[in-house]
């Protein structure tokens, strides 16, 4: 069976797309990751034009982060005040990101920028995670424990200090604003929520209580992905709702099953699996950048395909 995607202007097998959505959803539920960094390359692999893949992916992430944030909200694990400051930065980031995306697309370098940012961010994150895992699994050392509630660093003393009672922080508002800004840029350019950058940044740079990190980052991802979806729909017209609907159905089912199964997996192993997946995606993209492509030429129609 095939369905015709009205915006991507090509037919796809909905079973394949549903399975992809479910697989990525399962991994994201199981390992507690967003999964956008897997979905965008998979969509491009089955022939969806990169512009449509990135724009549609942001639409799917809205659904995924709404369903994710509900669970955290029930457990009161969302710092709304900090989240709102982050999303102000995120909104600016996604507005600039969408404009940058359109500009790079016109220059013919959007694919390069997508690949390069993936390789850089994923590579760095994978390396850090592997080092942590190596310490825990091989050297049998425990994850670093916090000595105090949180440690102040020089960044916290930037101007515009603000109190965040839920996180028990008194830090410069510029810091969460900047982290949100980077997150917003990533949604627009890479089609991912950016959780794998936001979460470590919130733990290590802000010194937030770990329990609040996942819920708060998901809370702001709803808005950055939402703003990006809207801007992509208005400027590039590349959001394919038919594709998004199939991905959403597969994704939410997979994510819920993954969450239910996640207690079966020891946290060390789930972190190791996460690091390995990130590393494999980064290596594959790096390999493609540095090896000579089979076909040196590409043909682009005015529609952008």
């Amino acid at each position: 069976m095939q369905i015709y995607l009205p915006i991507a202007q090509m037919p796809v097998d909905p079973i394949v797309v549903l399975a992809m959505g479910a697989l990525v959803g399962l991994l994201s539920g199981l390992l507690g990751i967003g999964g956008g960094f897997l979905m965008t390359p998979l969509l491009i692999f089955i022939g969806i034009p990169p512009a449509v893949a990135v724009a549609t992916q942001s639409n799917q992430l809205v659904a995924a982060s709404v369903s994710g944030v509900l669970a955290h909200w029930r457990r009161r694990n969302v710092d709304f005040k900090l989240g709102i400051v982050m999303l102000l930065g995120g909104a600016i980031g996604s507005i600039i990101g969408v404009a940058l995306f359109a500009q790079l697309k016109a220059l013919g370098q959007i694919d390069l920028v997508i690949s390069l940012t993936y390789v850089l961010f994923l590579g760095a994150v994978a390396a850090l995670m592997m080092i942590d895992n190596f310490k825990v699994l091989v050297l049998h050392r425990n994850m670093p424990m916090r000595r105090r509630l949180h440690e102040h660093n020089a960044l916290h003393r930037l101007p515009l200090r603000m109190r965040f009672p839920r996180s028990r922080l008194y830090i410069s508002a510029l810091l969460p604003l900047m982290i949100g800004f980077v997150g917003g840029l990533m949604v627009a350019i890479m089609g991912i929520g950016g959780g794998f950058i936001l979460v470590p940044a919130m733990i290590y740079l802000l010194g937030m209580p770990i329990g609040l990190v996942a819920g708060t980052s998901l809370f702001q991802i709803i808005f950055t992905t939402g703003i990006t979806t809207f801007l992509q729909a208005v400027t590039t017209h590349a959001v394919d709702v038919v594709l998004a609907a199939v991905l959403i159905v597969g994704g939410v089912i997979g994510a819920q099953v993954g969450t239910k199964l996640s207690h079966l997996l020891k946290p060390e192993y789930s972190r190791l699996a996460h690091a390995l997946i990130v590393l494999i995606v980064a290596l594959k993209l790096a390999f493609d950048l540095f090896t000579m492509p089979d076909n040196l030429f590409s043909v682009i129609t005015p529609g952008g395909q």
Binding site: L70, G108, V234, V249
Partner: protein, 248 residues
């Protein structure tokens, strides 16, 4: 007998009568349908072209998609990384191209007429928007042809045109699922002694219809509404999923 077959028979009879009565008309041809509708279940389309001729000769059918600007980009190695380098824009290139003929092209058409009428993939008219020096032009042209061929939008192979008796001919034409939308021209030419002696052009429209057209039109003409709709749907789906699975 389905309605399509009935229409074909009527078409053949009509063509046979017209050809018999009008002496001056040496070539008449028509398609089984002038519209290809792209629906949500679209997997490509097959059309039949029927025609008659009262003069001996061979038939060539050339199908061209709506003209469009095609940009060809070449990847170049810069600092060890393969990135898009030089590019060329071909103005008014056909977005789809296919040929059918009653005999191999080289046997029935001279090189001159193939050039002039753009018969055969190597002779497709491709005009660069800015002058490009050789040998780059040849290289970019060849790349455009082979890339379009890979996605089945240009066809190198020549489909058969078969004569049913002396005057009546037919050609089966297939269009892939990724066929571009717009107005096509289906050109039928009668060849004799290597030259074109008669020609006729029939229009063909490829357009999205039904749901898939609705989505496309809303996405482009009512983008704000479309974006808000996509968001509302995603929020509702996420909310519903969270609520449903909470009880499982």
């Amino acid at each position: 007998m389905n309605s399509r077959a009935v229409r074909l028979v009527v078409l053949i009879l009509a063509l046979a009568t017209v050809a018999g009565r009008v002496g001056a008309q040496t070539l008449t041809a028509d398609l089984s349908s002038h519209v290809i509708g792209i629906t949500t279940g679209f997997v490509g389309a097959d059309l039949v072209l029927f025609g008659t001729t009262d003069r001996p000769g061979d038939i060539i059918v050339i199908v061209r998609g709506p003209p469009t600007d095609l940009t060809v980009r070449r990847k170049e190695k810069i600092l060890g990384v393969w990135i898009n380098g030089s590019s060329a824009v071909f103005h008014d290139a056909p977005s789809f191209y296919a040929v059918a003929a009653s005999h191999p092209l080289v046997d029935i058409a001279s090189q001159e007429s193939m050039n002039r009428y753009g018969i055969g993939l190597e002779n497709v008219k491709l005009q660069p928007s800015r002058p490009i020096p050789e040998p780059r032009l040849t290289e970019f042209r060849a790349a455009l042809l082979s890339n379009q061929e890979k996605i089945d939008l240009y066809r190198r192979g020549v489909a058969p045109v078969t004569f049913l008796g002396e005057h009546l001919f037919r050609a089966d034409m297939s269009f892939p699922a990724n066929v571009p939308t717009g107005s096509y021209s289906v050109e039928v030419v009668l060849m004799s002694g290597g030259d074109v002696v008669s020609a006729q052009t029939t229009p063909l429209i490829v357009s999205r219809i039904g749901f898939s057209n609705g989505v496309f039109v809303v996405a482009h003409r009512h983008a704000v509404f479309y974006g808000l709709g996509a968001l509302t749907f995603a929020i509702a789906a996420g909310w519903a999923a969270g609520a449903v699975f909470r009880r499982v």
